[in-house]
Subunit: 155 residues, 2 copies
Amino acid sequence: MSDTFITPEALLEHWQGHRRLTRRVIEAFPDDKLFTFSVGSMRPFGALALEMLSIALPMVRGIVDDEWDTSFSREERSKSEILRLWDDATQQMNATWPKVPRGRFQQTMKAFGQYEGKVHDLVLYAIDNEIHHRGQGYVYLRALGIEPPPFYERI
Amino acid sequence: MSDTFITPEALLEHWQGHRRLTRRVIEAFPDDKLFTFSVGSMRPFGALALEMLSIALPMVRGIVDDEWDTSFSREERSKSEILRLWDDATQQMNATWPKVPRGRFQQTMKAFGQYEGKVHDLVLYAIDNEIHHRGQGYVYLRALGIEPPPFYERI
């Protein structure tokens, strides 16, 4: 067996650390800016947060049972409702992750019926997409004159 | 032994995929904007690219021999010189990575004499920092009216 870079347990903790930071970025936006403000005609941060929610838990469930749920609605919601959905997803991800079949991360699956790849790459794509869009959110906050939460803090 | 999320070999390939994308983002900036343009008083993308160079190869070398090189100069350079340094780092990272001692990624080290953590977290921090700042670069490009390279393309 090849050497391990990171175990599934540590990877989930790494992801949840990112999700705690992203939660603070959502919180940092004024309610009235979450779906109205952006830079360079890009999507506002509320839309990006909903995209993250449409991917994270459905991704974890999908790699467990190969059922890909695309029903999450991206319609606008209040900040408090988004945070509630965020916390709900956090708990369900933690409950579902241990059910990932052993060896699954090295297998190939087609996520959401269209993105085929090694399962570890599919999961990393979900995390990377969150980091990428959150970096975008940092610029929006700075442009609004708001100090974003520190990038290194994941607790 | 615990199950594997991803092997060291696959993780390096994942990182180099990100570095190929970041290279395209550097290339997409007009020469005269690389160190002059930003949004919200943040650092220009050239400074962020130099930060990435100051971390990536020194991180890989550090986890091999616990010698942490902080000598990389962040002084302004031309775009072609940054791309040359980038390609040089790519080759040296590929050559150095196989020398990481077996089991190292689960050990604890103090990167650059100050950031203590599990080695897998130190490496992921380097990658995540690159994704984060590159996301910032996407906003700068859009604000300049330039279409950034597709996020999903890593070849």
